[in-house]
């Protein structure tokens, strides 16, 4: 392939990924509202279109048409750039998450990932640590006490859980011997899913993912009863939409990472033994990736409407005194497993 073909294919892939992402984000919001209504015996949004199916578009247009306000006390420069950082970081992470195996279209062998970076997992971890800045700067620059407290809380929370997240990923790397997401998925052939081999790591990573995305039970940065809206108290219009988008995009990335690292990615156990055609297999595998991701996302929403919020000291204790030691034990466990069974 020459360079122009690579560029064209990459741009097409990026367009497809961005479209899929925006659609999933908007419908994730819709489904969250519907599922929460269902859990609480309400109706939820059901007026715009059939069963409220057009609700996300109505929401976006509403936000587009809202007046944008940055308060007098705010630091205008950083106040404007903070949502930009949040959205940008959330988007960039999608570049390395693989949604399927290589497929052949029009004679080109195409990987179903934008960039197969050989240190993809580290790339995601690095961008996660960048994500802290959107919230911290938003909190600091708004010039509101609620925002500042929300921003500081969120950054301390995110960095605390980043430690156990990093060590949990260490266990996955031991199994796969590679940092490339594609290689990690391929290492989980059959039933060798990391969730089964290292259940402790699976749990610590999932909990850390909840904390990193600021989801309940860890949504202290925007705890409504005490902090109004947390870091986005003083945001409106498209800037607010930016934070909203970033939060849900991060949720999808977290689900995608959980599936890739622990649930075998796009793999359907032993599908190659069935002797199906290449196209059917590939379609089923891509489908299985989205089904798994959907299940994790449903779990995210389910937890949100089932568990009350932690107190801040409980959150910190859980992060440093439970999850962190557990993730260390997980590494030793995996290392011992590999040594004994020569996996």
């Amino acid at each position: 392939m020459n360079i122009w073909e690579i560029i064209i294919i990459t741009v097409i892939k990026i367009g497809a990924i961005l479209t899929i992402m925006l659609l999933t984000v908007s419908y994730l919001v819709y489904f969250e509202r519907r599922i929460s209504a269902w859990i609480q015996s309400r109706l939820g949004p059901n007026r715009v279109g059939w069963e409220g199916i057009l609700q996300p578009f109505a929401d976006v247009f509403k936000l587009l048409l809202k007046e944008d306000i940055s308060p007098v006390a705010a630091n205008k420069f950083i106040h404007g750039l903070a949502p930009f950082i949040a959205v940008f970081v959330a988007f960039s992470t999608y570049a390395v998450i693989p949604i399927g195996p290589d497929v052949t279209i029009f004679g080109y062998s195409i990987q179903l990932v934008v960039a197969d970076v050989n240190i993809g997992v580290l790339y995601v971890l690095a961008l996660t640590s960048l994500g802290v800045y959107g919230l911290t700067f938003a909190g600091w620059s708004s010039g509101s006490k609620y925002s500042l407290l929300g921003g500081i809380r969120s950054s301390a929370q995110m960095i605390s859980y980043e430690v156990s997240m990093g060590f949990s990923v260490g266990g996955v790397l031991l199994m796969a011997g590679s940092l490339s997401p594609i290689a990690i998925v391929e290492a989980q052939y059959g039933w060798m899913w990391n969730a089964i081999v290292q259940p402790i790591g699976f749990i610590t990573f999932t909990v850390a993912a909840f904390a990193e995305t600021n989801r309940l039970p860890f949504d202290l940065p925007e705890a409504e009863p005490e902090l109004v809206g947390g870091y986005h108290t003083e945001y409106s219009s498209m800037k607010f939409a930016g934070f909203f988008l970033a939060e849900y995009a991060n949720m999808i990335i977290a689900a995608g990472m959980i599936v890739t690292l622990y649930l075998g990615g796009w793999q359907v156990p032993y599908i190659d033994k069935l002797g199906l055609g290449e196209i059917v297999t590939a379609l089923m595998q891509v489908g299985s990736f989205f089904v798994k991701m959907g299940a994790i996302l449903f779990f995210f929403i389910w937890v949100r409407w089932s568990i009350p919020r932690f107190r801040y000291d409980q959150l910190m204790n859980l992060g440093w005194k439970v999850m962190f030691p557990l993730s260390l034990i997980n590494i030793v466990w995996v290392a011992a497993l590999i040594m004994i069974f020569n996996l």
Binding site: N118, L130, V132, S155
Partner: protein, 165 residues
């Protein structure tokens, strides 16, 4: 000029420009904000050099850790955010002499060094080489690094504790 050159100059420009803004910004949080781009630009340069692991570590440790620490430090000293930092020009002559000497030194080194003309082949990824080296040749260093970090941890914690009392 190939596409690599263009990207190199792009990252170099980001690094130098944001570093300049870090020094000249009147608001200290703005400085921290520009520092983000400096670190990012340096990470880009590392990627161009084929040091992928170092690039990501640069972002993880410097951007993810050190800059957050810096920001917290700035935000903790609550007076500092509203105060404009004095960044005037003083001691022009000594600075010019010092800079001139340094520039002469760097330039002379650049002139006299025999630069490799053909670039070495880029490795697929540097992480494995690093791992082999750390486990084989430098295993003692690897463990000593662990002890060094332990000492740093104890030191940091005890300083923080003293502040609290």
């Amino acid at each position: 000029m190939t596409i690599y050159d263009i990207i190199f100059y792009l990252f170099a420009a980001i690094t130098v420009l944001s570093a300049f803004l870090v020094v000249t910004a009147k608001n200290i949080v703005h400085s921290a904000f520009y520092l983000l781009f400096t670190f990012f630009g340096v990470a880009g340069l590392y990627v161009l050099l084929g040091a992928d692991f170092i690039a990501i570590v640069q972002i993880m440790v410097y951007v993810g850790g050190i800059l957050i620490l810096l920001l917290f430090g700035v935000m903790l000293t609550n007076k500092i955010t509203s105060v404009e930092i004095k960044s005037g020009t003083i001691h022009v002559l000594p600075a010019v002499i010092g800079l001139g000497l340094f520039a002469a030194f760097v330039l002379s080194t650049m002139m006299t060094t025999k630069w490799k003309s053909n670039p070495a082949e880029l490795p697929f990824t540097t992480v494995y080489d690093l791992g082999y080296i750390l486990i084989n040749e430098y295993v003692l260093i690897f463990e000593l690094l662990g002890i060094l970090l332990l000492i740093a941890l104890i030191g940091a914690a005890s300083i923080a504790r003293k502040d609290k009392e």
